[in-house]
Symmetry: C2
Subunit: 388 residues, 2 copies
Amino acid sequence: MTPNMPVARRMADIQPFHVMDLLARARRLEAQGRDIIHLEIGEPDFPTPAPIVEAGRQALADGHTHYTPATGLPALREAIARFYQDEYGAHVPPERIVITPGASGALLLVMGVLVNPGAQVIMADPGYPCNRHFVRAMEGEPVGVSVGPDTAYQLTPDHLADTWTERTAAAMVATPSNPTGTLTDTHSLKSMIDFARSQGGNLIVDEIYQGLVYGERPMTAAGLSNQVFVINSFSKFFGMTGWRLGWVVAPEPYVRELDKLAQNLFLAASTPAQHAALAAFTPACREILEARREAFRQRRDVLLPGLRALGLRVPVTPEGAFYIYGNSTAWGEDSFVLAERLLEEAGVAVTPGIDFGRHGASQHLRFAYTRDIPVLEAALERLRQWLG
Amino acid sequence: MTPNMPVARRMADIQPFHVMDLLARARRLEAQGRDIIHLEIGEPDFPTPAPIVEAGRQALADGHTHYTPATGLPALREAIARFYQDEYGAHVPPERIVITPGASGALLLVMGVLVNPGAQVIMADPGYPCNRHFVRAMEGEPVGVSVGPDTAYQLTPDHLADTWTERTAAAMVATPSNPTGTLTDTHSLKSMIDFARSQGGNLIVDEIYQGLVYGERPMTAAGLSNQVFVINSFSKFFGMTGWRLGWVVAPEPYVRELDKLAQNLFLAASTPAQHAALAAFTPACREILEARREAFRQRRDVLLPGLRALGLRVPVTPEGAFYIYGNSTAWGEDSFVLAERLLEEAGVAVTPGIDFGRHGASQHLRFAYTRDIPVLEAALERLRQWLG
Ligand SMILES: Cc1ncc(COP(=O)(O)O)c(C=O)c1O
Ligand SMILES: Cc1ncc(COP(=O)(O)O)c(C=O)c1O
């Protein structure tokens, strides 16, 4: 930036995804005819389920192309409320559900409503990289807490008690977590909600990978308290990444504030996407999603032992999302260099730890099992050969 | 908000659209069987043009449902670049075009990149209400400049020279303007761009109503300089409000910053919408849009003389957008009360001036001609009867 092209100070703290550079390099290799296996991609390879696509096409044919209310289509808010009831036995009135442009939009709104300049927001490191940038965008201060295998890479009530200050506005939990795929437990969640509230702050629980849990029954923080912010999205479990649709469940007194901010910053979420999403809760669609969940589980059960056998250390078995986060020091010192070498030399693209924070970043890699089993097996074979 | 439910200070400065309350009241009246004519709606009544809808449906059938790059589909950036070339003879390389979730998303990104806490952004009052809230969200300070008929309700180089301080980061112009439908001229625009740059700041030109100009040939600030931010959208001229798709043309050194922020705050704009928008520039679609532009002109030519004849003072003829902004003091003192009475007593919904700022707010009403001519005539008849 030339001095005559000034840029706001916050931008110095807002990092691009490092994996984007790797991706660009991968594209160049592919343009040269190299075959690259992409295990860096944080979205399902599956297309949007047919019933949702069909509903979207119908919505377009029916002319549903105007703005909706800022909080979303009433019918969609009701459908999500019913989903909480039917799926989790959680009573969440539709009035507390605000539809947003992705979980991204939900996170932006919640930070806008909660975070004063200089206010702190506690979050796990490693964690979803955008979280600290949402906080920074609002002139708040992200406080990363180093988490490791001992707490399944999750924040705990003890972390909150140790880290909470007068300046803390909120703490964030993601369960299942990106990048680790690990879960927190109900008891711990409930304690964190209560602790945050007792301090006059709030807990924000990101449940975007909620439906993608293997072994355990998925749960929701919205069933534990009506004093918690719950973030969710149609992106991952429902296979609608490109449609840009999510939601937030908010404590009742905050709904009006979220509405005001959404009116001004977004106007509304996508109308065709909202109509399409109504089909996400139909039995036909749920069946497809269930089959996909099972496919993800099977992939994990191929990739995880395969990587462990090759020397990647994964001390806590990931029980959700579609990520495996492992210590890669047996393969090389710096995981960023390693990611470059894996791409160039083995033709396997993965995400370096640096994209998820600072704690142990250069010792870790994230593998996304967003590819079919034969592709995962081919990737394992390439790694095996590369390791010699 | 209870003290135990703290909310960020900025929220006290972020107002909801007052017209939303009127709209809710209108819905109640309609539920009681009353017929309401809606002239408060800031979006075209036309559905999205068929070729765009068809392209959207095809994109869904083809499985275009994954994330795109944060800056948008390369093909769409190229199509917009070609549009600038063909339509305006303006050379705008695709690399300088960043696709966003509506002009709303573009405004948020640009403010995020330009506005430090405490930095000022100059804007016209009356003006688009969200502008000051985008600035406030980033902890900047919106500086409203009272504008009136003498400058066609537009900022001028003189305003900038009078108002610019050490703390000013940018000034915003919208042409055609919401709520006034008035234009600024090329000469004035060019001077403002140069002035802002000479002060080490930037001019942001919102061209969302660009295609909707009657009489004059539409122009673009992007053709005047490569040192200006130009905001645009598929919402209004292209009839895609609910799809949430817009763009920003940025000076080259800022593109990387916008990309970084978009990656983190939005991930990307809607994928089906981006594919659909590729059809917006086809001859078949342009023909439909041209016919609609002509329909809007005819509506203006019915509503404007009609309202003037009834005593609404509209000193500057609106040459663009689909709004008529007039002084309503001949009808009643306070335009907010007036809007309520027009709704309840005459069955005509309009937007009170207060939604657009403070300057003369209580003396003005905005009428949107987003309804067919017979409906506009019926509205005029209702007003005539109500005025007695
Ligand atoms: C933990 C987490 N939260 C939120 C998001 C945002 O997703 P979206 O905006 O598509 O809903 C992601 C996307 O990768 C994520 O991993
Ligand atoms: C002047 C102006 N700018 C920006 C917008 C935002 O529109 P969108 O986000 O739908 O592109 C509007 C919408 O009414 C507007 O009137």
